[in-house]
């Protein structure tokens, strides 16, 4: 007679270790210290969150056209709503606002095309975006062609100026930074020394002093009769400053390219520039794209400093609108609105850079 061993069915796990109760126990109340921390955090949230939600959403005033529409209990979003166009484009003439809208709409479409995977002719579209589109955008912003009235640069402002400063700074910093990075790794001692001095000098000083320099010293260095526009001076300063940071990012990419690639390019008899352009730089750029996006985020945040030399970017237009005697006392609303816009741009870019990092990490 054979004995068959039939095990009892497994007992279910104790109720305290599964489901909601188990999750709470594991994640919130695992030790006495954790319990204390959890309770403290809950108390803090209870004291902070409801008043904030009440102020920003429930008690807030949304509709109306003047300051009388705001009761004063909550946030006064009417202020932001009435000033919205001013925050977006600064003192750009009202009848011409369609021009920046068209330019940024076009930029958005081009970017969307470049970001979606597996679309044809990406190289051509990228070339168009980098080389032709900036000219189109400039003529849309500035005017003077095809009967568009001229809008001087001192009327440009708001988010539009923030975006112009950061993208133009980036466009110039990329090639200049690449040259500097190549110079720093070059075997020619003069080129190397000049690149090192240039990079370390700009990286060692704050952007404010660079902006002061470009606004105060550049006119001194110009021969008489040549007057540089204030925006152009800021752009020169930002581009030089940014190219030093860009150079270090690109240099890290150059260092990551295996030595065999350099030797193989030499063995094929390629000249220095051909080896760099065809073999080394494409591989280096691929590894540093996330780093480039990160420096772009830094630049985007740093463009706020131009308000110190008297340009009206997003933060400066918001700051300037606080002095309007009709709308005194809405500083918190203004900063929160500006902060939200900056945050959305920076956060989405940093997520994108994170995503790229994962996608490009093919592992050698």
């Amino acid at each position: 007679m054979t004995i068959t061993h039939i095990p009892h069915p497994d007992l279910p796990p104790p109720l305290t270790s599964v489901g909601v109760a188990g999750w709470l126990r594991r994640n919130l109340f695992s030790t006495p210290l954790n319990t204390l921390l959890t309770l403290g955090a809950f108390y803090l949230l209870y004291r902070l969150l409801p008043p904030m939600v009440n102020w920003a959403l429930l008690d807030a005033d949304w509709s109306g056209t003047g300051r009388e529409a705001c009761s004063g209990d909550g946030a006064c979003w009417v202020f932001v709503r009435m000033r919205f166009i001013h925050f977006m484009v600064g003192f750009y003439p009202e009848g011409e606002v369609w021009r920046p809208v068209a330019a940024f709409g076009m930029a958005g479409l081009l970017l969307l095309y470049l970001l979606i995977n597996d679309l044809p002719h990406k190289g051509r579209v990228a070339g168009f975006t980098l080389l032709v589109f900036p000219c189109i955008a400039f003529f849309l912003f500035y005017g003077g062609l095809f009967g568009l009235p001229v809008v001087e640069t001192h009327q440009w402002g708001g988010l539009m100026l923030t975006l112009i400063l950061s993208t133009v700074g980036m466009l110039f910093a990329l090639p200049l930074g690449t040259l500097l990075a190549l110079g720093r790794r070059s075997s020619m001692s003069v080129a190397r020394a000049l690149s090192v001095v240039f990079i370390e000098l700009w990286r060692g000083v704050p952007l404010i002093t660079v902006l002061f320099m470009s606004s105060v010293l550049l006119p001194l260095f110009m021969p008489e009769g040549i007057r540089l526009d204030k925006l152009l001076r800021a752009l020169i300063g930002i581009s030089l400053f940014q190219s030093a940071y860009m150079a270090e990012v690109i240099r890290s990419g150059l260092q990551a390219v295996p030595k065999g690639q350099y030797e193989a390019a030499d063995a094929l008899g390629l000249s220095y520039w051909k080896a760099m352009l065809l073999i080394i730089l494409p591989q280096a750029f691929k590894t540093v794209i996330p780093g480039i996006v990160n420096t772009f985020i830094e630049l985007f945040k740093d463009t706020t400093l131009v308000l110190i030399i008297g340009l009206f970017d997003l933060l400066a237009t918001v700051q300037g609108s606080f002095t309007d005697s009709k709308w005194l006392g809405f500083t918190a609303e203004g900063y929160i609105f500006a902060g939200l816009i900056y945050w959305l741009f920076c956060f989405s870019m940093s997520r994108y850079s994170h995503h790229l990092e994962k996608k490009l990490h093919t592992g050698y």
Partner: protein, 406 residues
Amino acid sequence: MEGRGHSVCSAYALRVMSRSEAITRWWNQAGNRALLFQVLLMLSVVLFFFLIGATALSNLEKQGITSGFSFLSQKAGFGIIQTLVSYNESSTYGRTFLVGLLNTILISVLGIICATALGFLIGIARLSSNWLIAKLSAIYIEIFRNLPLLLQVFFWYFAVLRSLPLPRNSLQLGDWFFLNIRGIYIPRPLPEQGFVLLGIIFLMSIAGICALKIWARKYQEKTGTELPLLPASLAIFIIPSAITWFTTGQPLYWEVSSLQGLNFKGGLIVIPELAALLLALTVYTSSLIAEIVRSGILSVNHAQTEAARALGLPQRKILRLVVIPQAMRVMIPQMTSQYLNLVKNSSLATAIGYPDLVSVFAGTSLNQTGQAIEIIAMTMAVYLTINLTISWLMNRYNARVLLQEQ
């Protein structure tokens, strides 16, 4: 005749050929090309600086500004709201420079200490096993590192500190701390007679603790026994100082601020500009440091922790002896660049009127004297020097903790 002419011609052609050939041969040597290129590069840089220098000189002459550093001994004639050394309106521009420099150093040092402490706290909380704490830290990090620093400075200054009540209705914490639109008032320590003795005793006990530590380490290396260092150090730290404190009759007096008329008198005042800048720098930089701390701790191989546990080390020793030293190696270069950024970012003081170097020297003094080249060069040189010093110190520290590879 004809033949001679031909031979002259061909000899000439030969000479020309050989010259062009020589040039080609010279050109084909990579070293020569590099030399030529570098000479041209050097010449163009020199020419560039010569041209802008000459233009600048002639422009300055037209504006009637004499270049040079003689303006530093002229009277500045403006007041500064916070000075660490004595300064008044009849002080010189040189003195202004010193005041600004000290204020910059003050905000940088305070900022580095606060941001490091808060950053470590949040970085560790980000890795906590407590879900709520980890998520809250993640939210903190994502909010503050994605907002421009200048916006944060403005927010703390204009939206928070400028909307505080007047001195009459100050917010207060106990009877010692007061908060109003003029600033934060804290008690000021005033040393009295006998304080020097206390200081000497204090320093001596610290030296004693160091000596004890060295001796204990030698003892442990010889015998393998670990001595209970903590109670002994605490005893050395507290007992002599406490005895001196009471025998000399408590030689430190805390001067508390009090409302007299419309304003507070006495005590130490932290001006709102300093408070706002410090808050913004701390919050912004700590969110970046927290990420560095997190990535540093995560970079330590899990096998290291397991090996330490297998050796029977208790949890806090695993952290102190195994995880943190290895995490530091990853963190130090990144921390260095954050510290450097903080020093540079302290120049945002200009925007709210905290009297730092850029604000009082590259701002007010430049506007008054017009000595743009000298002032901007001096300001940049200061930041360069501070940056190079910090990175030199951190590099030395980094070299000490670097992995010693065979």
